[in-house]
Symmetry: C2
C-alpha cells in the first residue's frame, strides 16, 4: 500500500524584522520564490490584533524601489490600522540573478560585511584620531525593474513578476498567515507599480475588488520606460506588448463597474514623456469605464505626494474590500 | 560724514529642494554657518498658504541622522499642516571639518559625481550586457554626533551645535522667512535629539514655549553614549558635563510649569543602558516639574515609533505655541 501523499510543503519564511506601528506590526520576510528562482523579500503590515479575516491590499512599488520604500515613507499604516486592512508590499523584481560573484571583485582593503547578495557594505571606523567619524561604502546593485510581467525573452526567463504577484505571493501569504483573507484583495501602486496594479487588475477583475494608482505608467508601449523594458522582456513584436499595457487592456474590457482611482501630480517631471494619463482617460471614456483621475497641482513623483493622498486610496479600497 | 552703516547681511541660503506635501511644502537649504565654520543643511516644512505669523517647532534628530530623516519618515507634516505650525529640522552636527580631501583618495575607475563633501556617489551603469542593472557605490562620511552642546576641547572647537540651534539658526530663519514668527517656538527631538531638546529647553525656558521628546538620552553623564561624547567634547572634568544633562538641569530648575511630554518604547534596545528615563522622572518628581512619561509597550527606537505618536506631540506643542 502506498504511503498517503504528503500535504504540499508550506513555503518557508525567514522573518527579517518586526516593528510595532500604529498598534499593528510591520513585518519583513525573505522566502525562496520557485517562480522566480531566487530569494525574494516582502513587507507586510498587520493591523492591531485581535484581527482575523483581514482583507489584503497589495502595493506595487516603482523603479529603483524594493519592498521597504512604501513601508518606510508612505505613512499608510495609520489608515490601514484604522480600516483593519493588511498591507503587502512585494519587492519589484527578481534580484541577484546572473550577477553572482560580482560583489567579490570589489576590495578596498578595509573591513567589510556582506549584507546581502545585492548590497555590500564596507565600514571603516577611524577611532583614534577622528572621534565619531566613520566612512561607509555601500555597493548596491539594483535591478528593480521587473515591470510586473512574464518575460518571454529567454535571457530574462526568470522575470515573471506577474505570476509572482498574482499566484505565488498570495499562496505564500495564505499558507503562512491564517489571519489574512487573501480572497478579499485589492491592489494599488506607484509609477511602474501603478502600471503593475492596473494591468494585473484588468487581467484579473474577478481576483481583485478594486484598483488605484499614483502616477502610473498607463501606456507603456508609447513611452521610453515601457519600450525599453518590453523590447527586452517581450521581444520586438509590438502586438505582444499590448497584453501588459493598461490603455490597451481597458479598451478590451467592458465589465469594469468599480471606479478606478488615479492621483497624478501636475509637477511630476515624468508626466509628459512617461506617464501619459490622458491616454488612459480617453480609453476609459471610450469604453465607459469609471475613472477618477485627480490631477494634483504642485505635486511631484515622490513619496511626499503618495503620503499626502494615501489615506484617500485606502478609504477607496476599504469600501470595496468590505462590501461583501 | 561717515557713510550710513549697512544693515547686517542676510545669510545667503541655497535651496536644495522643494516638494509639496499635505498642501504645504518641504524645503531644504544649505547655508554657511559662521558659528560652526562649515556649510550646514536644514529642512523646513511650511504649512499651506496663506500662512503668516507661523509658530516654529524645531525637531532635533538622533545619532547617524541628518536633517532629512524626520522629513522623510515621520509623517509629521500632516499634523503640522493641520495645526498651522512650521517644522524646522536642522542637521545633527558640523560636517566635513578636518576631513577635507579625503573623498579624493577613492577612485574606482568609474564615472562619478560629487554630491557633497560628505557623500561621493560613484555610479556605473552596465548597459549592453545586463539591461537594467547598475551598480551604485556610496561613500558616506558620517559625523552626526554633535550632541547639541558647545565643545570646550580645542580639537572640537567647531562643535557648537548648542549655539547653532539656539542662536544662529533662528536668526537665519527670521532673516529669510517673513512668514515665520521665531519668537513663538517650541522644540522636540529623538534620542540624542531628545537630549538636545530637553537641555536646550531647560537652559532657555523663556525662549521656547514647550518641549517634548521621543526616547531621549535624559542622563548622558551616566550612559556610554554621553560619556564618550562629553569626555571628548568637554574634557575630563565631570562637573562640567552637568550643564548638558537634562536630569542634572531639571534639579536646578523650579520654574517649569509647562508639562514635558516624553514617549518611550518599552522594547527599545537602548532603554536600559543609554536612555534611563526613570532617572529623569525621579528628578522631575523631586522638584515638582510636570512630566508626562508614556512608556509604550512593544515599540522600539525607530521612526515607526515616532510616526505613531508624532501627532500627539504636535498637538501638545500647538496648545502652547498658540496660547499667547
Amino acid at each position: 500500500m502506498a504511503a498517503a501523499a504528503s500535504p504540499p510543503p508550506v513555503a518557508a519564511l525567514e522573518q527579517l524584522s518586526r516593528t510595532k506601528m500604529f498598534g499593528g506590526h510591520n513585518l519583513r520576510f525573505r522566502h525562496h520564490s520557485a517562480m522566480l528562482g531566487c530569494p525574494m523579500t516582502f513587507s507586510l503590515f498587520i493591523p492591531p490584533s485581535p484581527a482575523t479575516n483581514l482583507p489584503v491590499l497589495y502595493w506595487l512599488s516603482g523603479l529603483t524601489c524594493n519592498d521597504e520604500n512604501f513601508i518606510t515613507k508612505s505613512g499608510a499604516q495609520r489608515a490601514a490600522a484604522a480600516h483593519g486592512i493588511a498591507l503587502v508590499a512585494p519587492d519589484t523584481s527578481p534580484r541577484g540573478l546572473n550577477i553572482e560573484g560580482e560583489a567579490d571583485s570589489w576590495d578596498f582593503g578595509v573591513e567589510f560585511g556582506l549584507v546581502s547578495r545585492e548590497c555590500v557594505v564596507y565600514q571603516y571606523n577611524i577611532y583614534a584620531d577622528d572621534f565619531f567619524f566613520d566612512i561607509t561604502i555601500w555597493i548596491v546593485k539594483t535591478s528593480g525593474a521587473g515591470f510586473y510581467l512574464n518575460a518571454t525573452n529567454e535571457k530574462w526567463k526568470n522575470w515573471r513578476m506577474y505570476d509572482y504577484i498574482v499566484t505565488e505571493l498570495p499562496k505564500v501569504l495564505s499558507d503562512n498567515f491564517e489571519q489574512l483573507n487573501t480572497s478579499q484583495a485589492s491592489i494599488f501602486g506607484h509609477s511602474m507599480g501603478g502600471h503593475g496594479a492596473l494591468t494585473i487588475y484588468l487581467k484579473n477583475i474577478d481576483k481583485y475588488k478594486s484598483v488605484s494608482a499614483f502616477s502610473p505608467v498607463v501606456n507603456p508601449i508609447n513611452c521610453p520606460w515601457g519600450q525599453k523594458a518590453f523590447s527586452n522582456y517581450l521581444g520586438p513584436t509590438k502586438s505582444d506588448w499590448e497584453e501588459y499595457d493598461a490603455t490597451c487592456l481597458i479598451k478590451k474590457c467592458n465589465r469594469i463597474s468599480t471606479p478606478i482611482l488615479i492621483d497624478q501630480g501636475e509637477d511630476d517631471k515624468f508626466l509628459a514623456e512617461q506617464l501619459l494619463p490622458r491616454n488612459f482617460k480617453e480609453a476609459c471614456k471610450a469604453v465607459g469605464a469609471p475613472l477618477t483621475l485627480r490631477m494634483q497641482p504642485g505635486y511631484d513623483h515622490s513619496y511626499f505626494f503618495i503620503g499626502t493622498f494615501v489615506d484617500d486610496h485606502i478609504a477607496h479600497h476599504s469600501q470595496f474590500l468590505k462590501s461583501d
